[in-house]
Symmetry: C2
Subunit: 395 residues, 2 copies
């Protein structure tokens, strides 16, 4: 009974601590917990999160109450800790007569004091060649296909490192579908659901030729670059075609150290990306380095062969080229580069918005090369991790 699965969530929130003092203040309620942690929870925040069955639909678990409907002068009349079905609830009586019973495990998990928020930051490890040669996460196909714990381990390391290798995959055409769907929906693109990386005479992308591909992210021409990229090796006995991978987040972090000016330029000045095709004309315009509302780096967007003409204020042109040339130059430094050959049965999975990939030219006179690939967006990866974590908590 020590967990929370009330209306507004499907997740569990074990009670690890209880409030021992509470003070009604101008902003809201200040809670002091039995481990000395302090939470200041604002009036509208508390009202917004009332989990009662009037405020949250028992069927869909979605909010029915709209915070816009609370009176502007809403305030708290009374706070107490009361037992509801053998569990403690922080009970809040509101000036308009409504009563909210808040679960202490849920409240603590969602406390937004600086210290609490810092603990929730998820760790991502950046890497260079030395680090990834020691730590490349490797997993077994049968294990991740049949065991949910092995799957969760893969996906968590996948998220942390941005890369993983699945060994012993079957080498049947189309079998990549099964692996990708262990995570979620495959992202369909104009190249199909599964795409075949083979040489074609009517190539509409350099990927479908035998030439060297410089380090790039796939589909920077699309607003949402695909998240995970899978490359499943069915056959690889041609000479050449080695894979090269670089952690764009590490290169960006090092550039930031080296020159904050150039790093800032790449997070601010938009570049244009155009695909080249008779049947589609996708374009997107965004900085090479994208940061989120919290200022954290969330993606790299780069593919020399898909860049359109730079279209920015004349004042930014020289700065852009200085920053872009330096960034690309750094990615070419072998100390960042994971360099290897895919063998039949290997499935390489990497975060396409973080890890740049390249391949050497290959020679089809010497043998065959056939990869199948697909994309699965980050949304799907993170959702699957959360669902697997829910199940673990329940077990």
């Amino acid at each position: 009974m020590n967990s929370y699965s009330e209306l507004a969530s499907f997740a569990s929130y074990p009670i690890t601590s209880l409030p021992v003092e509470w003070h009604i203040e101008a902003e809201g309620v200040r809670l002091i917990w039995d481990d000395q942690h302090v939470s200041l929870l604002h009036t509208f925040w508390l009202r917004d999160n009332c989990p009662c069955s009037e405020c949250v639909s028992p069927v869909t678990r979605e909010q029915l109450f709209e915070i816009c409907d609370a009176p502007a002068d809403l305030h708290i009349r009374d706070v107490s800790l009361t037992a509801v079905a053998e569990q403690q609830r922080l009970t809040i009586c509101w000036s308009d007569g409504h009563v909210s019973r808040m679960h202490p495990g849920w409240l603590r998990a969602h406390c937004y004091a600086d210290a609490a928020r810092q603990q929730r930051v998820s760790v991502q490890h950046t890497w260079d060649r030395q680090v990834i040669n020691r730590h490349l996460p490797q997993h077994d196909y049968q294990q991740v296909m049949t065991n949910n714990n092995a799957l969760l381990t893969w996906l968590q390391t996948q998220h942390q490192w941005g890369i993983a290798m699945i060994r012993n995959s079957p080498t049947e055409v189309g079998s990549l579908n099964h692996l990708a769907q262990r995570i979620g929906m495959i992202r369909e693109t104009n190249f199909g659901r599964l795409f075949d990386v083979i040489s074609r005479s009517d190539a509409n992308s350099a990927a479908y030729t035998t030439v060297r591909l410089p380090l790039h992210t796939d589909l920077p021409t699309r607003e949402l670059q695909p998240g995970l990229q899978f490359l499943h090796c069915l056959r690889n006995d041609a000479e050449g075609g080695e894979s090269i991978l670089v952690d764009g987040f590490r290169v960006a972090a090092d550039l930031r150290q080296e020159s904050p000016e150039l790093y800032q330029a790449l997070t601010r000045i938009p570049a244009d990306f155009y695909n080249k095709d008779r049947h589609s004309d996708y374009r997107f315009r965004a900085p090479i380095l994208q940061t989120d509302a919290d200022g954290e780096l969330t993606e790299v967007r780069v593919a020399n062969f898909l860049r359109g003409p730079l279209d920015v204020s004349a004042n930014d042109v020289e700065l852009f080229y200085r920053a872009y040339r330096r960034f690309i130059e750094k990615t070419r430094d072998s100390r960042y580069q994971l360099y290897f050959r895919l063998d039949a049965g290997d499935t390489l999975v990497f975060d396409n918005r973080r890890v740049l990939h390249a391949r050497n030219a290959f020679d089809l006179k010497s043998g065959g090369r056939h990869l199948q690939g697909c994309y699965v967006d980050r949304d799907e990866l993170l959702s699957r991790i959360r669902i697997l974590q829910r199940q673990q908590t329940v077990e």
Copy 2:
């Protein structure tokens, strides 16, 4: 012969003007055109855009040359206007011996002088009830299905206004597929490719009940909210269920006028959105109002019933609620609201990231209500417009 379809592009660039003077300067080349327009084109920008067959693959039309490989001290030796196959080219001789022949139509179309960039800004019309009641773009199903000019007209107004109504659609289940695919790929989600908006007892979303839905965007829980939303009415003779649409861009613009502080808060402070489902746990964190690298408003993200607990610095909590409550309050003002009933055969298409939608509760005792919906991303819309424009230019 007066157009450009050389290597790096499939589009045409008619020559409407020619350079009459050119000066090599420290930054690059200053061109003076026969209509007095002035283009200052920087050294690296020019070199980056060389269209020769060494620099751009004749097969894929993708860039092979990487600007990173140009020497840091690259400069221009000589510029001249020379005839190539009866067409003028701006010929640039580089300090490293390379020669670039640039097409004047292409150069002028990509000039990034302030005046030139301003002319390229695409116009979007925001609307309130009065405006949209006069100007709601309406199109005929058969016309847009069979005539590419009618299709282009629809898609251009769709982009400008964020909304259109397609009349006289067939009322067969599944027929929406054909209309959506006139644009491009349907965006698949966990609700399927086509989704049925009918009342269900196992609803995992308020959409699948009979309740009133407040104004919202669909799938704010996903990093990329779906772009176009199609709602195809197959049957609607139940009482209630009226549709309400509000141009979020107009409300945001008005809020910006009314209170720059509250507008800024909504573009800066991230909100969290969670879906509520046993089988998926999508979450995304982003400001209610998203602006792009150029500071332009690009999307609204709002759905009261999918918001997770606010997780921001305590300093921002009160400001967020002040701004959010005011924004929602404004959307409820009837002067913004397009209010109507969908009839069988109507297909409503709107930009889900701009136009908020709501529906009134309906009563199934009084009749039936069956809509089918689907999503098509903005990328697909804009690509289709460009492809249709290419074809028009050729005709």
